[in-house]
């Protein structure tokens, strides 16, 4: 059994490593590629097959190494929902379908997940809120799932970022799954972790570069959100659960709060919240002059750091303050980076103004 816990990620990694080059070639034929433009950094078309390869490799490996068939309903639901999102995402990557259609699909899938019994039932006393009513459970679950799916999608802006953060999330959630006896979920997460390692290798490659595309980022978002909700402690398990909450919240702070921050700014500026620009957290970090790989690594490390901070505050001041602390650290960091960005932008503007007269 323990041997399979090593073999699962290894196998999925090897499978993805084999799938990706093959799918790269197919991608160029069917034009499933990301075309360069003024806003993007790459200069050549890049295949958008990382998500498909990762999906295939992860689920194949997971199917091979899952021991028991308990929790099968949850696994099947995740598979079906992920598969649907994979198709929608691939169509979007190829044909650029409307955002509203994608959102409707996400909402429907979130509804199905709720219907299958995966739901947020309580707020665990955060801000004094305990059990939620049925309606509140519904809307909280829908909001969280669609929010996280889109947040991870928005994080996919530079090489290795969405994959790196998702890898951190998969590992943290896998630890939580192992500790709480969700064995099949644990195997599934290990499988995804292995495939993500392979994906990162090709994502960072100069000669064989691939992107995961919306197909990959949305399926990862769905996996993370559904598993996170599933692993939320029910209180009947009889063990301290704040560490679980902190682990889950910490991996979501960066993608979710960055999306909220950017949406707020765009709305304040009078533009659509989905208007593409360069104001995400990873753009702000790039302004420090770092390479993509370094930025991705830094932000993944930042997610872990936020978790550690959350644990420390929780030990001293409890769960609510731990959450406030984690969010505060995020906003302090983004404020400093945003400030630095403004300084750089104005320095460039002034240089132009100085040479114009």
């Amino acid at each position: 059994m323990f041997v399979s816990y090593f073999l699962t990620p290894l196998f999925s990694c090897i499978l993805a490593w084999l799938f990706i080059p093959l799918m790269r070639k197919i991608a160029f034929v069917i034009q499933l590629t990301d075309q360069p433009n003024r806003r993007k950094i790459h200069h050549q078309p890049v295949p958008l097959v990382g998500g498909i390869a990762m999906f295939g490799a992860s689920w194949l490996a997971a199917a091979l190494f899952m021991h028991q068939w308990g929790d099968l309903v949850l696994i099947k639901n995740i598979f079906v929902a992920s598969f649907i999102l994979l198709i929608i995402g691939t169509l979007d990557d190829r044909y650029d379908i409307r955002a509203s259609f994608r959102l409707v699909v996400q909402l429907l899938l979130a509804h199905c997940v709720f219907d299958a019994g995966v739901r947020i039932e309580t707020f665990y006393g955060i801000w004094g809120i305990e059990e939620l009513s049925y309606g509140q459970q519904y809307w909280a679950t829908i909001l969280v799932i669609t929010g996280i799916v889109n947040a991870i999608n928005l994080m996919d802006g530079i090489d290795g970022l969405a994959a790196g953060l998702s890898l951190v999330s998969a590992v943290v959630l896998a630890i939580i799954a192992a500790q709480t006896g969700h064995e099949n979920v644990f195997v599934l997460l290990l499988s995804y972790a292995g495939a993500l390692v392979a994906l990162l290798r090709f994502n960072f490659s100069r000669t064989q570069k691939i992107f995961m595309g919306d197909a990959g980022s949305m399926t990862l978002g769905l996996l993370i959100s559904v598993v996170s909700i599933r692993l939320l402690p029910t209180g009947a398990e009889g063990r301290p659960f704040s560490w679980i909450l902190i682990g889950i919240i910490s991996i979501l702070v960066i993608p979710v709060f960055d999306a909220l921050r950017v949406f707020r700014k765009r709305l304040k500026a009078g533009v659509s919240p989905f208007h593409a620009d360069k104001t995400h957290l990873h753009h702000l970090v790039l302004f420090l002059g770092l390479r993509h790989q370094t930025v991705s690594l830094l932000l993944s490390a930042a997610a872990l750091a936020i978790m550690v901070i959350g644990f420390c505050i929780n030990n001293v001041a409890g769960l609510t303050w731990a959450i406030i602390g984690m969010v505060f650290v995020f906003y302090a960091g983004t404020s400093i980076l945003g400030f630095h960005h403004q300084v750089i932008v104005w320095r460039q503007k002034i240089r132009l103004m100085e040479m114009q007269r």
Binding site: F339, H340, Q342, V343, W346, R347, K349, I350, M353, E354, M355, Q356, R357
Partner: protein
């Protein structure tokens, strides 16, 4: 009531090292404001106790009261220096005239809790200067925004900086430059020639802080190989590794005369006013006092082609943007050309850069600050109206 009406308004001048002026542009400005405004206003000026030891301190100077603080007016200490000056001035002043943005962080509270009028001069775009480290730049960048937002009137010393404040803040910044009529054309004596043999022949002159953004290295390199004119350059060479390197490289060069800082105005004017050409390499900082002084002395100017210098000289000087252009300009100069440019510079300076004019403008701003309720914006009122209303009335095309 009559006594209230005739009582002079009280102004606190904050942010300078102090008077008598020995240190720089703001100090010279402060001294001339005192000279020209104490008839109409009751002025108190804050000075740095670190630069004016107890034995030289005065209770008043040219009818202005002096107050000393045991802090440096520059560097990191400028923040508490300006802050404490502002807090002290709140007890008596009607108008706070603040030179520099170091203490700007406290201005929101001043506006919130008092009815004091705030006039602030933001100097050049200080946060952009290479001499500051990252944290200092960040603080000045933020402080500048606070200064402009929470002052009743903000002052730039250059039209190019006014463009910047309009673009960044939407603020209608007032332009008040510097005076230069304190400088003198001093004839050369035999003693001077004995001390400075280069005075016997035409030479180019430059006086500045020895910093990379003043293009000192570029100018030295070109003049080292320029046969036409030797270069006399005065600056604080030993203050930095950059300056020390340049001094070591060029001090023995036959065409370059490197001099340490000269604080005596007359000695400086001897060297400057008798130059054949003034070279100005500043690339930052708005209107530079040394440039306007050179203009007032009727020197032909060869300046770095940045917007601030062009605005200061009304695009009538000679300009360079790189080594090649500087070489070309030097090669093309001749006496008649230099004479014409010098005359133009002098006419501009006499029209724009005199202390009575500067003091008059400050006086007008003080009077205005006491009357205005709100700082004017560069945006028209129409741009602040509700867009759908404008659209309905067929006036949406007028919106900024």
């Amino acid at each position: 009531m009559n006594q209230e009406k005739t009582q002079k308004k009280r102004i606190a001048i904050i942010g300078t090292v102090g008077v008598p002026a020995n240190y720089g542009g703001f100090e010279t400005l402060a001294e001339h404001l005192i000279e020209n405004m104490t008839d109409h206003y009751d002025i108190t000026l804050y000075c740095s106790g670190k630069k004016y030891p107890k034995d030289v301190r005065k209770a008043s100077y040219k009818n202005a009261r002096l107050r000393y603080l045991p802090l440096d007016a520059n560097g990191i200490q400028s923040i508490p220096y300006d802050t404490l000056s502002i807090l002290h001035a709140l007890w008596y002043a009607d108008v706070l005239l603040i030179l520099g943005v170091a203490g700007a962080w406290i201005l929101p509270f001043v506006r919130l809790f008092t009815r004091k009028r705030i006039i602030i001069s933001i100097d050049g775009i200080e946060w952009k200067r290479d001499k500051w480290n990252v944290l200092a730049k960040w603080y000045l960048f933020w402080a500048e925004s606070i200064a402009v937002k929470y002052s009743h009137i903000d002052i730039s010393d250059n039209e190019a900086i006014q463009d910047y404040t309009a673009a960044r803040y939407g603020s209608l910044s007032r332009i008040i430059e510097y005076g230069a009529d304190h400088t003198l054309k001093v004839p050369v004596t035999a003693t001077d020639t004995e001390q400075y043999p280069f005075l016997a022949r035409p030479y180019a002159f430059k006086v500045c802080r020895i910093e990379p953004e003043n293009n000192v290295h570029l100018i030295l390199e070109v003049f080292a190989n320029a046969a036409k004119l030797p270069l006399v350059i005065v600056g604080n060479w030993d203050k930095s590794a950059y300056g020390q390197d340049l001094k070591n490289t060029y001090s023995q060069h036959p065409n370059i005369h490197i001099l340490d800082p000269i604080y005596n105005q007359q000695r400086l004017d001897v060297l400057r006013s008798n130059a054949a050409l003034y070279v100005h390499g500043h690339s930052a900082g708005g209107t530079n006092p040394s440039l306007v002084e050179a203009m007032y002395l009727g020197l032909p100017v060869l300046a770095y082609g940045v917007s601030y210098n062009r605005v200061t000289t009304e695009n009538q000087a000679l300009y360079f943007n790189n080594k090649e252009e500087l070489k070309r300009q030097i090669a093309d100069i001749y006496t008649a050309k230099l004479k014409t440019i010098g005359q133009k510079m002098e006419r501009i300076a006499r029209r724009r850069y005199t202390w009575p004019l500067v003091a008059q403008k400050y006086g007008q701003l003080v009077a205005e600050s006491l009357e205005i309720a709100q700082k004017p914006s560069v945006f028209t009122r129409i741009s602040r109206l509700h867009y759908p209303d404008l659209l309905q009335k067929g006036a949406a095309h007028l919106r900024y």
